[in-house]
Every structure is written in structure tokens, then in C-alpha cells.
């Protein structure tokens, strides 16, 4: 468990031993498995329109609820004869898009709010009060409230999830900025006459990077699950769009006759979340040793 014990063991030098990616894979085997799953998710999401065998929305009334392994339909078809593999691939692409845009938006907003609050005490109370208020609710409740204001749909879903995740980033950035601000190199920059903005951009934000990366690796699976949950509740991505959560909602009434329409989208969702979780654990150990015990 202790850091010194693991690093003290002399590692035999192998080819490519200096490569940080290879180093990570050797030390965190499960994390590397997660990285592979995440990589597969990114690649299949990016290439979905080209590698999916069919259009995800094409209905085939003669070929409904075919089981997995059917000729020409590797994962079978759903109640409208739509090819399940194609819908899974396109659903993954949509999940990837929603998760990445919402997480990047909330990370940027959170860093802005957090560093601003840490630098301008006048704004601190108001900003952090609002953040604490948002933290008093589970993320999905915040997202749901925002959807009740904006309405359903993919863009609104992204906004809702982004807002629900801003406070976590803001709190992290706020706390870290407060401590980095007191460091010698920042004092040196102040003494040299650097402006607040230059200090934040050049000295503070780069030092937030590793913690923000770890946080992001944990926020992506959360936003994927939240998006799927809200779509499952009928308040996110709307049918007939291929999305794992709304596919599961649709599958509820067909699971008796064709369990695969319920099992396959859930498996995909779990696999991706699992991949991000174990990758996140590995990254946390590798990048942020202070958080190791949590």
C-alpha cells in the first residue's frame, strides 16, 4: 500500500520501460484494462457511422426481435426490427458526445468559478454558497430540475448535466487555488509584478491539471450514467434516437419475449462505466498519490 515499498523494488529495465504509458500499464494492470475499454469506446464512437452495419433508425417489420447471432444481425434486432449492433454503436457515439461536452463545459466553468472565488474574496461567499447549495442535491436531481426548466432534448441534457457537475470542479479548484496561492513561486510572480490573470493562467491552472484530470476520469462515468438514467426516465434523449438509456426504457415491455433487447444495452453501459472507473482508479494512484487511500 505504501508508496515507498512499491517504488523501492528495482524494476528490470525492459524495452520501452521509459515510456509513461507502458509504465502505467505495467504498474496498474486493471487500470490498463480500463484504458483499453475506454479506447475501444472512443474509437467505436468516433467511427460508428462507418462501422455500423445498418442505419440505427431503419425499421424492418419482417425482422423484429431476432435473437443475437441471427444471420446478418450479430446482436439481433429490437421490436421494430432495427439492428441492435448498429443502435449500440450509435448510442455509444451519442453517450460519448454528451459526456465529453458536458464534462469539458463543467470543468472550464468550475475552474473559472473556483479560481475567481479564491482570488476575489468579495465574490467568494456568493459563488461558493451557490455551489454548496447545488451540492446539497444529488446531481441527477439538479439535472432534472434544469430539464424541467429547459425541456427535453440532447442540448438541454448536456446543459443540465454540465450544471450539475460544476460545483465539484469549483470546489476542487477553489481549495487548490487557495493553497497554491500561498506557494513561493506565486509570491515570486507577484513580486515580479505579474497580474492576477497572468498568475492564474500561467501558474495556478497548470498546477490544477493533475487533480482536474483525476476528477474528470471520475466525472465522465457519472455523466454517462446520469444521461442514460434521464433518457431512461423519458426526460433526456428522445426516441427514436439510439441511446442506451432510452433503448432500455423501450426494452422494458419486450424483455419477456426477447431478453436480449434489455440485456445488451445495459451490458454496454456497464462495461463503459467499469472501464472509466478502473482507469480512474489507476490514474488517481499514478497522478495524485495524496488521494491514494480514498
Amino acid at each position: 500500500m505504501s508508496a515507498t515499498a512499491t517504488t523501492a523494488v528495482p524494476m528490470p529495465r525492459r524495452a520501452g520501460g521509459g515510456n509513461p504509458v507502458w509504465e502505467f500499464a505495467r504498474k496498474h494492470k486493471v487500470g490498463a484494462l480500463g484504458a483499453l475499454i475506454v479506447l475501444a469506446f472512443f474509437v467505436s464512437g468516433a467511427l460508428a457511422p462507418w462501422i455500423a452495419p445498418y442505419d440505427p433508425l431503419t425499421i424492418d417489420v419482417d425482422g423484429t426481435l431476432k435473437p443475437p447471432g441471427s444471420p446478418r444481425h450479430l446482436l439481433g434486432t429490437d421490436n421494430q426490427g432495427r439492428d441492435l449492433l448498429s443502435r449500440i454503436l450509435h448510442g455509444g457515439r451519442l453517450s460519448l458526445w454528451i459526456a465529453m461536452t458536458s464534462v469539458i463545459t463543467s470543468a472550464v466553468a468550475g475552474i473559472l468559478f473556483g479560481t475567481f472565488a479564491a482570488y476575489y474574496p468579495g465574490s467568494e461567499t456568493l459563488i461558493m454558497r451557490v455551489m454548496d447549495m447545488l451540492l446539497a442535491f444529488p446531481g441527477i436531481i439538479v439535472a432534472l430540475t434544469i430539464i424541467s426548466l429547459l425541456g427535453t432534448g440532447i442540448e438541454n441534457l448536456i446543459i443540465a448535466i454540465a450544471i450539475s457537475q460544476v460545483p465539484q470542479y469549483a470546489r476542487l479548484a477553489h481549495g487548490l487555488t487557495l493553497s497554491i496561492k500561498e506557494k513561493m513561486f506565486v509570491e515570486a510572480a507577484v513580486a515580479l509584478g505579474a497580474s492576477d490573470r497572468a498568475i492564474v493562467l500561467k501558474h495556478i491552472v497548470p498546477n490544477l491539471f493533475s487533480s482536474i484530470t483525476v476528477q474528470t476520469s471520475l466525472m465522465i462515468p457519472t455523466s454517462i450514467t446520469t444521461a442514460a438514467s434521464l433518457s431512461f426516465l423519458g426526460l433526456g434523449v428522445q426516441p427514436p434516437n439510439a441511446e442506451w438509456g432510452s433503448m432500455l426504457q423501450n426494452a422494458m415491455q419486450w424483455s419477456r419475449v426477447a431478453p436480449h433487447v434489455m440485456i445488451i444495452p445495459g451490458m454496454a453501459l456497464m462495461l463503459v462505466v467499469f472501464g472509466f472507473n478502473v482507469l480512474g482508479d489507476g490514474l488517481r494512484d499514478a497522478l495524485d498519490p495524496r488521494l491514494r487511500s480514498r
Binding site: M133, A136, G139, L149, L248, M270
Partner: protein, 306 residues
């Protein structure tokens, strides 16, 4: 201790006030007309106007706001736009249902989670540890609603041994409780494992072993008692977040709780009900936080409340 609780309650008031104000403002900004929504797309303009007057939405925003706040102080949350019943009456029984489900789920998550984490830590690096670690990883990765659907498919549809919907008997509780607890269970197990692994290395645990105490006494009385401190915080936090999980679980198992009420209210833009649910969630969260802090003080005598 009473003084401490009273102070905590007073401290939560500004935040609750902020919640009410933010939600109120937000609903003012959006271009949506609850009266029109309530009357239906085809209703005549006079009907819409009459409903607007009925609901009190024809008054200026600040009058509506001060009216809402004044009533709130006396415990009146207004009336639902759709059912016209008092929001308090709508919330009460559903809140009880959600709390019942959440309490059972957190009890299950805590007992099994601590047990699983302890087994893993005591057998660190052995097969049992790997099995427990994998269970915990699957537990934090499996989507709650999918787990619910899988259980329903297996136990209700295929085997027919558990009821799929409702909350009448204890048998109705089994699947929703398990579904709601799994994420927290896995989370608590991971927390217990890492916390216990740190404590086991401490000198006082070695001393306890050295004086010949039995292994279960060493683990139970000396190690676990100290390792549980951070776990208590996690349990409290998870309980707050269970209300979010309950939203989805309630939908899967048709559980008549707050989550389903909120989903319906969101769909109908029933603002007083949404406000009420949010306030109740926030108040519960603050109450739990205060209780967690108190529990922390009971477990760690070094902490005193002034």
C-alpha cells in the same frame, strides 16, 4: 448537543432560502406558461386566463414570491397546479415511502459493505480480497435501473417469486432495496477496505496482537472501531445521494415515492410540487449532515461540539 443541533438548523435556513429563491427565479425566466399547460393546447383564451387567476399567476412576480415565502414560514407550501391538493399533503406520504426504502437500503449497504470491506482487508492480496474487490467494482459500475430491470426479469418474470411493482408487503421491498443499495454497498466496501488497511498497520493494533488478543478482537475492537470513522462520513453522504438513486429505482418498480412525484411534476411544470420536493430534499440533506457530524463526535471522543 441540543444547542449544537439548533445552531445547525438555523445555519441551514439561509441555504434553504437560497434554494427557494433560485428555483422561483428560474421558473420566472423560462418562457413557459403553466396555465396554458394546465388548460391544454386547445383551450380557449378565457379558460387559460381564468386558470391563471385561479393559480394566482396573474399577480406580479414579487407578489407571488413574498406570498410564497410568507406561507412557507407557516409550513404552507401552496397547492399543486394539477391536483389542486395541498403540496404538503402530496409530499407527506410519498416522503415516508422514499425514506422507508432509503433507510432499508442504507442499512443493507452499510452492513454488507463493511463486512465485504473487512473480509477483503483481512485477506489482503488473497483470493477473497480479489473476489470482494471485483464485486465492489461491478457494484459501482452497474447502472441502478438496469440492475432493477435484470432483477425484475429474473425474479418476477421468469421465476415469478417476487412482485414487480408496488409497496404493499415486505416482499415488495426486496428488489427495490437491493437495487438502491448496490452502489453504496460497493462504495462503502471500498472505503472500509482502504481505511482498515491503513489502521491495521498502526502500532496499537500490533500491541493488541502482541498481548495475545484473539484475531477477531483485534480486528473488531481495535482496528475496525477506528477504521469506521471515515466510513461513517461516507454512509451519511451516500444516504443523501440515495434520494437521487431512489428517483430511478422508484420509476422501475412503480414505487409511490418522492422521485416519481417529482418526475411527473417536472413533466407537467407543476412548480409548487417541484419546489416542495427540492426543499424537502435539501432539508433532509442538512439533517443528515448534522447527524453525521454528531455520530462522528460519538465515535471519536476527541471531537467536541461547542
Amino acid at each position: 448537543m441540543t444547542a449544537y443541533l439548533v445552531r445547525r438548523a438555523l445555519l441551514s435556513i439561509p441555504t434553504l432560502f437560497l434554494v427557494v429563491t433560485v428555483v422561483f427565479l428560474a421558473f420566472q425566466i423560462i418562457p413557459s406558461d403553466p396555465a396554458r399547460l394546465f388548460a391544454g393546447e386547445t383551450a380557449a383564451q378565457e379558460t387559460v386566463e381564468r386558470i391563471r387567476k385561479d393559480l394566482g399567476l396573474d399577480r406580479p412576480a414579487w407578489v407571488q414570491y413574498t406570498d410564497y415565502i410568507t406561507k412557507l414560514v407557516t409550513g404552507n407550501l401552496g397547492r399543486s397546479f394539477t391536483t389542486r391538493r395541498l403540496v404538503v399533503d402530496e409530499l407527506g406520504p410519498r416522503f415516508v415511502n422514499t425514506i422507508k426504502l432509503s433507510v432499508w437500503a442504507i442499512l443493507l449497504a452499510t452492513t454488507v459493505g463493511v463486512l465485504l470491506g473487512t473480509i477483503a482487508a483481512v485477506n489482503q492480496g488473497k483470493t477473497m480480497d480479489h473476489i470482494a474487490t471485483i464485486i465492489a467494482l461491478v457494484g459501482i459500475s452497474i447502472p441502478v435501473f438496469w440492475l432493477g430491470l435484470l432483477m425484475m426479469f429474473f425474479f418476477s418474470v421468469t421465476l415469478g417469486i417476487l412482485p414487480a411493482a408496488g409497496n404493499e408487503t415486505w416482499r415488495h421491498y426486496i428488489m427495490p432495496t437491493v437495487a438502491l443499495s448496490v452502489f453504496s454497498l460497493a462504495f462503502i466496501a471500498r472505503m472500509t477496505r482502504s481505511s482498515l488497511l491503513e489502521v491495521i498497520r498502526q502500532d496499537y493494533v500490533r500491541t493488541a496482537r502482541a498481548k495475545g488478543a484473539q484475531e477477531w478482537v483485534v480486528i473488531g475492537r481495535h482496528a475496525l472501531a477506528n477504521a469506521l470513522l471515515p466510513v461513517v462520513i461516507v454512509v451519511g453522504l451516500r444516504f443523501g445521494f440515495m434520494l437521487g438513486g431512489a428517483l430511478v429505482v422508484e420509476e422501475v418498480f412503480a414505487w409511490p415515492g418522492l422521485g416519481r412525484l417529482m418526475i411527473v411534476a417536472v413533466g407537467q411544470r407543476d412548480i409548487p410540487v417541484v419546489q416542495g420536493v427540492l426543499l424537502l430534499f435539501a432539508a433532509t440533506f442538512f439533517l443528515i449532515n448534522a447527524l453525521v457530524d454528531l455520530a462522528y463526535g460519538l465515535l471519536d471522543p476527541r471531537i467536541r461540539y461547542a
